[in-house]
């Protein structure tokens, strides 16, 4: 069983071992690319950039020509990273988020990851092992892309959208469509009709919680409940999910790097099992 990577455990990549290259996890998502470097004891570097139109180039830019003992890719671009020889191995985002969340919260039972274009609920057991999961990637409803488009429709920057909704006075305005395209037209009509944009924003957040909440309940809520992925940065969703599911949420300081962290941790485990199988790669 892959045990938790205890900070006090003698680390493979600790500075005492000399200037060995770190392990790395690269999470190429639809909206952002995250890179985490892990020396076997701690995160030595974590950075997030926009995926843009050339994810390989942007991932290489993040890697800055460094060498890694083993780099594991995850996210939608994971196979591209392997094909272009950035990564020595690929793992699914589901496994990566399980490992990353477990490392940050050893008592984690459920992970909700809402990213740019899909959402996942993962039940994890000892060692961050995935026990079951549900994933929605059919459409942008209930994802980061939906939030971005709705913020745009209200003339807000995405980081201001959550606080804008939280400052609503009164009940949320009910949004009937979760289709990203139709919801945008609905928002425009509501505003034109004179509805308060704060309450409209709250209604949009509530719509996401209603939709994703059903998926969470299918998997089952097992505490501790970790909320990760870029959308976890939204304070309104944090609050609404906590209320809807009746649990306190654990939100990592940087929820966007959890998948890359899991991939980096896996890189270390894999290198330990197969020390010769993975040559160091550089960008």
């Amino acid at each position: 069983m892959p045990g938790r990577l205890e900070p006090e455990r003698p680390a493979v990549g600790s500075p005492e071992r000399g200037a060995q290259a770190p392990f790395a996890g690269l999470d190429i998502g639809s909206r952002t690319i995250a890179l985490v470097e892990w020396n076997g004891r701690e995160i030595t570097r974590a950075q997030v950039v926009d995926t843009g139109t050339d994810p390989v180039r942007n991932a290489r830019g993040l890697m800055e020509g460094r060498s890694y003992r083993h780099l594991v890719a995850t996210g939608y671009g994971r196979h591209l990273a392997a094909e272009r020889e950035l990564a020595g191995e690929v793992i699914s985002e589901i496994k990566a988020y399980g490992l990353g969340a477990y490392h940050l919260y050893p008592d984690a039972g459920t992970v909700l990851d809402i990213g740019g274009q899909d959402s996942k609920v993962i039940r994890i057991g000892p060692g961050g092992r995935v026990l079951r999961f549900e994933m929605n990637d059919r459409c942008a409803a209930g994802t980061g892309r939906f939030l971005e488009n709705m913020a745009h429709a209200l003339g807000l920057a995405v980081q201001d959208f959550g606080p804008h909704a939280l400052s609503a006075r009164g009940a949320p305005v009910r949004i009937s469509s979760m289709c990203t395209v139709f919801a945008e037209s609905e928002v425009v009509s509501l505003i034109a009709r004179g509805e308060d944009s704060h309450r409209v924003a709250l209604g949009l957040h509530q719509a996401i919680v209603d939709r994703v909440g059903g998926m969470v309940r299918r998997v089952g809520v097992q505490e501790r409940f970790v909320f990760a992925g870029g959308v976890a940065l939204n304070p309104c969703l944090q609050q609404l999910f906590s209320q809807a599911l009746g649990v306190d949420l654990a939100v990592p300081d940087d929820p966007q790097i959890v998948g890359a962290l899991g991939a980096a941790l896996h890189a270390e485990q894999a290198a330990r099992v197969l020390p010769d199988a993975h040559a160091a790669r550089s960008a």
């Binding site: 196979h79 793992i91 496994k95 994933m135 059919r138």
Partner: protein
């Protein structure tokens, strides 16, 4: 190498479009069918070649004028093929009463086939365990047999029907042998062979498959290392072969299935009773039923668990067509049994053109779970 030659010849026609069928098999007249409850042996004995009409991922151009979007991909894709003329070379099409959508599909085909094609629905009973089911099914099969006599290439002859049953039973025996060599074949190749069995004249298929099985038997003397988690597949038609490529790419194996177009289609044997129609009726009544049928002795959960365990599966993957109600209902019945037994499972909901990346992520995560 003969094995490769036989395998190559089988695989190249496994999913070939039906508009090329007549040119490939001159001298044969193809009769399409859409369900594994259609008695192929009768069609064959009437001098026609039964060919399964499969769904595919080609863009749909005509079907929306006739069929709702909330109909399964099999119905939508096959009706589109009919409307676009891709099935013109078929002598007709035979349906079986399995689900309401397929029943309605038969009516649509009748309306849109121009009145010149043979069309029939073999009304197999839904409840297979009643005292009257056998007598009813024998009467229905007799009706179908006599109707085939009106359009068949050859006069109806019971001895010919017995010979056709023997030919189709030979395929079932060969497929049973082939099951023992799953790990010597890639996952896509194994299912391409089963697909080809539903697309080629059986005389041709059996001789190629017999050659392949002999070669595999010889090669199997050399032990073959197998690795990777083993999956048991459950579902209706598997009309997206790229799913099998994904399984292979992810390093998993398939050790058994309960698929309408997979092993279930080739299950058991009809046998050689004196009355071949009674033999066919008994075969359909005793074969493990598809979810559109009911038999009081058949417990879907217990059956899938037992089959999956017997095949050595590490997990079960349900490949369910979106909007396929019979399979969705059975899925809900099967889950508690698998959960109780601690056998992991994954449901992949298939559409006519599924998102392969989404399927890949789900499958990869599931395979990682089983490692």
């Amino acid at each position: 190498m003969a094995e490769r030659e036989a395998l190559g010849q089988i695989i190249q026609v496994a999913r070939a479009p039906l508009d090329e069928w007549s040119a490939r098999y001159p001298g044969h007249r193809a009769m399409g069918y859409l369900c594994s409850y259609v008695p192929e042996e009768m069609i064959h004995a009437a001098g026609l070649t039964p060919v399964r009409i499969r769904g595919n991922t080609s863009p749909l151009r005509y079907v929306d004028a006739h069929l709702q979007s909330f109909t399964c991909a099999l119905c939508r894709s096959t009706l589109d093929q009919l409307l676009s003329g891709q099935l013109d070379s078929l002598a007709g099409a035979v349906f079986a009463h399995c689900c309401d959508a397929m029943q309605a599909q038969a009516d649509l085909w009748r309306m849109h086939s121009g009145g010149t094609k043979f069309l029939d629905v073999v009304m197999q009973p839904a409840h297979l365990g009643t005292p009257s089911a056998r007598a009813y099914l024998m009467a229905e099969l007799t009706r179908f047999w006599q109707r085939l006599g009106q359009i068949g290439e050859k006069p109806l002859d019971v001895d010919r029907l017995r010979a056709s049953i023997a030919l189709y039973d030979e395929t079932r025996d060969l497929v049973r042998s082939l099951q023992g060599f799953r790990h010597h074949l890639s996952v896509p190749d194994f299912y391409a062979i089963l697909d080809a069995g539903q697309a080629m004249p059986r005389e041709v298929f059996n001789s190629l498959l017999a050659a392949l099985v002999s070669e595999l038997e010889a090669a199997a003397a050399q032990p073959k290392a197998v690795a990777g988690p083993c999956l048991y597949l459950v579902g209706a038609v598997l009309d997206e072969p790229r799913l099998l490529d994904l399984v292979q790419d992810l390093g998993a194996r398939v050790c058994g299935d309960d698929l309408c177009t997979g092993s279930r289609h080739f299950h058991g044997s009809v046998g050689n009773q004196d009355d071949p129609i009674a033999a066919l009726a008994d075969y359909y009544l005793q074969r493990p039923p598809c979810p559109s049928k009911y038999h009081p002795a058949h417990q879907p959960g217990a059956y899938v668990l037992q089959q999956a365990r017997a095949s050595g599966a590490d997990g079960v993957v349900f490949v369910i067509e979106k909007f396929c109600e019979p399979h969705a209902f059975d899925y809900a019945l099967i889950l508690p049994t698998l959960d109780e037994a601690g056998l992991p499972h994954l449901m992949l909901e298939m559409e006519q053109t599924p998102s392969l990346e989404g399927l890949r992520t789900r499958l990869q995560a599931f395979v990682e779970m089983l490692h």
